[in-house]
Amino acid sequence: MARIEFLGPIGKEPVEVDIKNLKELKEIFAQDEKLKEWLGICAVALNDTLVKSLDVAVKPSDKISLLPPVCGG
């Protein structure tokens, strides 16, 4: 099961999901009403590297992070 972390202000506990790629994650999340406001503004990292495409394979040991808009300093 890949582990999904919701960073910063999303304020949601990590979940584990059984997916083969990010497209499947998108389908699962589409049913989550509470996540809707975040999905449009969050970037996605796979094992701490930002990804730009849904055609990314996901292994059971992978960590996926959702990163909302940032404002350091």
């Binding site: 202000p9 998108k26 999905l39 449009g40 970037a43 808009p69 940032v70």
Partner: protein
């Protein structure tokens, strides 16, 4: 070098330590940028969450870029609560000549604002309120939206 501190940064301690560390390294320009929390909009301060793995990778990539110009970067940032009139962020460029240094401090601070995985909250009446309006989506944001 990247250092994270709980609560406000001790500006004098950090700047003095950095200066002592680097003064014999033959850099001609030392340019710190010190961010201080402003008392505005009725806040008592700011608060920060940091995702350290991506912050460290981002910083290391910048450090390599700086090294290619003979320069060096230093950065300190707060985690947690930072009251008004204290500092939450210091970055510094060291460079042989001024022009490279002045360009790098500008480009580094601007990219920090756009890319560093840090989340800011206003502290209002003891509550943490996400500073959503001042925040910038990271590159590739919206990938999972329908």
């Amino acid at each position: 070098m990247l250092e994270l501190h709980d609560g406000p940064l001790h500006v004098e301690e950090i700047i003095n330590r950095w200066y002592i560390d680097i003064r014999y390294k033959n850099f001609g320009a030392f340019i710190p940028f010190i961010g201080i929390v402003r008392d505005e909009k009725g806040i008592d301060g700011l608060s920060f969450d940091i995702y350290e793995p991506i912050l460290e990778a981002w910083f290391e990539a910048w450090q390599k870029k700086a090294e290619q110009e003979g320069a060096m970067l230093l950065m300190a940032h707060s985690k947690g609560d930072v009251p008004n009139h204290t500092s939450s962020y210091i970055s510094a460029v060291l460079s042989p000549q001024r022009k490279v240094g002045l360009r790098l401090i500008n480009d580094f601070v601007e990219d920090f604002k756009a890319s560093a995985p840090i989340w800011k909250y206003d502290l209002i009446d003891g509550e943490r309120v996400y500073a959503k309006n001042r925040s910038m989506p990271l590159s590739g944001a919206g990938l999972l939206s329908t």
